[in-house]
Symmetry: C2
Subunit: 271 residues, 2 copies
């Protein structure tokens, strides 16, 4: 049972591997708490809903990924809610701060303090544009991880990420840069399910790196391909946000059933 | 006197141009409220200091740029402080949310709501890696502006930003992308003073775009070159953070004197 306990002696990637094996799940539940999706612009309604989504998916999720935008929108009150969420999730799941931060070294130190120490997240999403000194402050504790944007799931991702540099697309240069920073077995990447070939190319050059794969569901990415390629060597976590949090009548039962359906499909695909 | 008033009929760039001309200042005061720099790890001491920096520089600064990392570090309490700061600055200066955000379209909408509506900032810094759909939600109100990272001031900026694409460095492709999104005269760029040649190349292809130029002072960028090139056609705001906020004995007098010294040098250079 030690894999469930929060063990600081394990690297982030080892802990993730252990948790996935033990739960036989690759599901990351994205907490994009959009008031328009709930049809309720009242913060207390949204807060209750966020706790409901967590309770409804504890047995199925490996990770939870709150997206900071949906909390920052409310300012200080939203950040207080985010503090509660991390504590409500507890220590038996991986928490991913979907913050996409990226700043110069001394500022990145402050963001690392915010995300790892103040909020207590296990990992964070980062933007690579400013290079290694904006990333390294998040990688010096092996039990804390980072998923760095590599090839994203949005339509305009290609505008810059696919530019050709020395006969290879830019995002592969990003993948190599991240590979070079992975001294503590804790540097992962974000790769959209909407970019199936790109996912394969990234997995080929980074066989062990944990991948966080959004874009299945509302954005139209293919679950089967993403899961197979993402997990052909290392771990590929599949993130689902809207397809779980705001499904059907949005009751705990509907949410659990949507998450269970995803996990059953995943187990079938990777049988 | 109308230029001082907050006039919603002006585009962000027009308002910035007017304010610079009226004040004969190109100074942006960066509010990086680092407890280590103050030598005081107490939040109320830092808060008092942030208000002191604002009071000491009102007559000299065109813009204030709080860096979100130094507020997020304290969680909800830090965000409440940031709310107070924006209101304390008031409407007679340009406020720049140094948040370096970048996310897919529906999430970028939430960040825009956070920064422009909840906090009430005039402008924001953004990261271009995810392409135009991560930027456009911040550009659809002409009175609100964005400064998008182009060539940054940190040492590792070159790792990705200088990669050659079709015989031109990547950051110039970013500059062209941003130029193409500037339909409302409100899209600017961040270019480090530590990259003097790069600054000239960016100014050449974006003659009117507002530039936000950090890296003078602690990071070693050249004030004279940055100011001249930055302002040869459009406006180039020079950001100074540590060199003003934490100077000398950190009294209001020392802070005012450091800011006045910068502004006098600027007026001399652009005489």
């Amino acid at each position: 049972m030690f894999l469930v306990n929060y063990n600081y002696m394990l690297s982030f990637n080892s802990r993730l591997n252990g948790l996935v094996k033990q739960k036989r799940s690759w599901l990351c539940v994205g907490l994009d708490m959009n008031p328009e999706a709930l049809g309720d612009n009242d913060l207390s309604g949204l807060k209750d809903h966020s706790f409901k989504v967590i309770d409804a998916t504890r047995d199925l999720a490996v990770a939870y990924k709150p997206n900071f935008a949906f909390f920052e929108r409310w300012g200080a009150v939203g950040f207080a809610w985010l503090e509660e969420i991390v504590s409500y999730i507890g220590k038996e799941h991986i928490t991913i701060a979907d913050a996409k931060r990226g700043d110069i070294g001394n500022t990145a130190d402050q963001y690392a303090k915010s995300i790892f120490d103040h909020f207590g997240f296990d990992s964070v999403t980062l933007n690579p544009y400013m290079g290694s000194d904006s990333i390294l402050p998040f990688l010096n504790r092996k039990e804390k991880g980072a998923f760095i944007l590599c090839r994203t799931s949005n339509r305009s991702a290609k505008e810059l990420q696919d530019k050709m540099v020395d006969d290879e697309p830019f995002y592969l240069h990003v993948a190599r840069l991240i590979g070079g920073l992975n001294k503590n077995d804790n540097a992962g990447m974000v790769v959209g399910a909407t970019a199936p070939e790109e996912l394969q190319r990234i997995r080929d050059i980074a066989p062990q790196s944990p991948l966080l794969i959004p874009g299945v569901g509302a954005q139209g990415g293919d679950l089967s391909h993403s899961l197979r390629v993402g997990n052909q060597s290392g771990i590929g976590l599949i993130n689902v946000s809207r397809g779980i949090s705001f499904v059907g009548d949005m009751s705990e039962k509907s949410i659990h059933s949507a998450a269970a359906n995803y996990v059953e499909q995943m187990r079938e695909i990777l049988r």
